[in-house]
Symmetry: C2
Subunit: 305 residues, 2 copies
């Protein structure tokens, strides 16, 4: 299932299912969206703060559900990740989402919501910049708007020219795109919200984790046979995951070679999506082809209608 495409004049609903954001930053991003020709409706609790959470679990979940129910809202955008999406999973009524499909976008901690909505509602979602992202970055905003406004026909995702992608294994793989932040993918393993990677194209990005922790997470995905069962893998940005001194560590590259590239399945690496810039928007749940020869992601179907 796909949502209605985003159009100028549409109303974007802002929600904070995870951590709180500085009110000034939220207001700044609202101005940007308004200058781009969109209306904004704020969730009741987007300015709430309860430690590292943007308010109580009930309030954050209620804001999210209300945005799906609100007929005036054309698209739902998350304000920030951080931490907290997992806590509201049991409070989400996936039937309501299924009956009121609309664009839902975010990344990082939002990974669990993106994938649960895909799996439980069969609705394509979007791994995209949020209110706390830098929307002044030109390739970032172009990818975001092109995907949501023009993604009603197949298209190609590729890095901006100055950043090369690497294709491992000169072939290709086709499957449904799933994934996002590695820590969050691992944090739902063993739960009813666990990611399904069977015959899928798994996208992985990470921020601020040392190589040994990335090894540990990839090893968990190997022991649970999540990696072996993928049709293909896309590696995004691994921001601040390198160590200044490697005498006590394997390098990030060595970890990726050992745990992923050794599997012999098609892999695209260095895709510019994750916690750095440019930040490409990716349609989670869409059928895609990773073309290792051309080093691009071919989106094989419409992601909005």
């Amino acid at each position: 299932m796909i949502a209605k495409r985003l159009e100028k004049g549409d109303t974007i609903g802002l929600v904070s299912p995870a951590g709180p954001e500085n009110p000034e930053k939220i207001k700044e991003s609202i101005k940007i969206f308004e200058s781009l020709g969109f209306k904004i409706k704020k969730g009741k609790h987007i300015y709430d703060k309860l430690g590292y959470l943007a308010g109580t679990d009930n309030d954050r979940a209620e804001d999210l559900m209300n945005m799906f129910l609100d007929k005036d809202i054309d698209m739902i955008l998350c304000v920030r990740g951080g931490y907290g999406s997992m806590r509201i999973l049991p409070l989400i009524d996936f039937d309501i989402i299924k009956k009121n499909p609309k664009i839902f976008a975010g990344f990082s901690d939002i990974t669990t919501l993106l994938n649960c909505i895909v799996q439980k509602c069969q609705l394509t979602t979007f791994h995209s910049p949020m209110c706390n992202s830098n929307f002044y970055d030109e390739p970032t905003i172009k990818s975001f708007l092109d995907t949501l406004m023009l993604g009603y026909k197949p298209f190609i995702i590729k890095n901006p020219k100055r950043i090369a992608t690497i294709g491992i294994d000169k072939t290709h793989a086709i499957g449904q795109l799933v994934g996002g932040n590695l820590s969050l993918i691992c944090s739902t393993l063993g739960t009813p919200f666990e990611i399904d990677t069977n015959d899928k194209i798994l996208f992985i990005e990470e921020v601020g984790e040392q190589p040994y922790k990335i090894d540990r997470m990839l090893t968990q995905l190997l022991l649970s046979e999540k990696l072996q069962k993928c049709a293909g893998i896309i590696l995004g940005q691994f921001t601040n995951c390198r160590l200044p001194h490697y005498e006590r560590s394997l390098t990030l590259q060595e970890v990726i070679e050992d745990r992923i590239l050794s599997l012999g399945i098609p892999v695209l690496t260095n895709i510019q999506s994750g916690h750095s810039y440019p930040k490409l928007t990716l349609p989670i749940g869409a059928r895609v082809k990773i073309n290792c020869k051309k080093r691009v992601i071919e989106v094989l179907e419409a992601v909005v209608e």
Copy 2:
């Protein structure tokens, strides 16, 4: 199943299933064990180093299996945790361990081995200090030796007098003791090596993780129903898990209240086992009673014979 008790003159086999340790530190600990009246046999690869691993997966697994097979070895002690035990899980022959039961001890990253051996071999293991621990700490060495040498009859585990335990809910719970490091417990969820907590007493300790990460891990255990199904919970040391500034965080105490104490099951907190000192030795797999009124752990059966 329980192993033969440790006696003066016995031979302790040293293995490094996870990360490498400074050779000087290993040699220093060997002197301590020799001065205590034990012989030492070193695994072939305990001085190996491959980044954050103590040698290749095959070599580390082989060392471990050889120690179980070696008739001269009375007890197996891990040199250090760090990271790496998970990587060798598929290389371990649990049948060999089952047929050659002996004391196996360690903690931190070794958590996965302690619990897998309990679950797959029904052999009681020991959450204990390792070669890289401070064996000069008197209550630490006393707990270690008392448990392994005198644990052939029921005994009581309690904090040294100067450190108070806290018992939540004035009652008690009985069950098999499982658990160890929280990160490692979560890192096997969704795999064939996942911890079983049904009707068990779950012990948890952690080091160097911020409150929001502890929240995330406990939330994963809640979503997988691992916490709700416990008979009781023991909280050990949470070393360096507090933040200097709490304006952006819930406190560790708030996280524990919200995610654990709210369950209403018996909990003992502040048990001195984990990454600080004193470091009490705990028999993983043994039937224990947490007595919340007396604030002690009663070990109800022999842990060695």
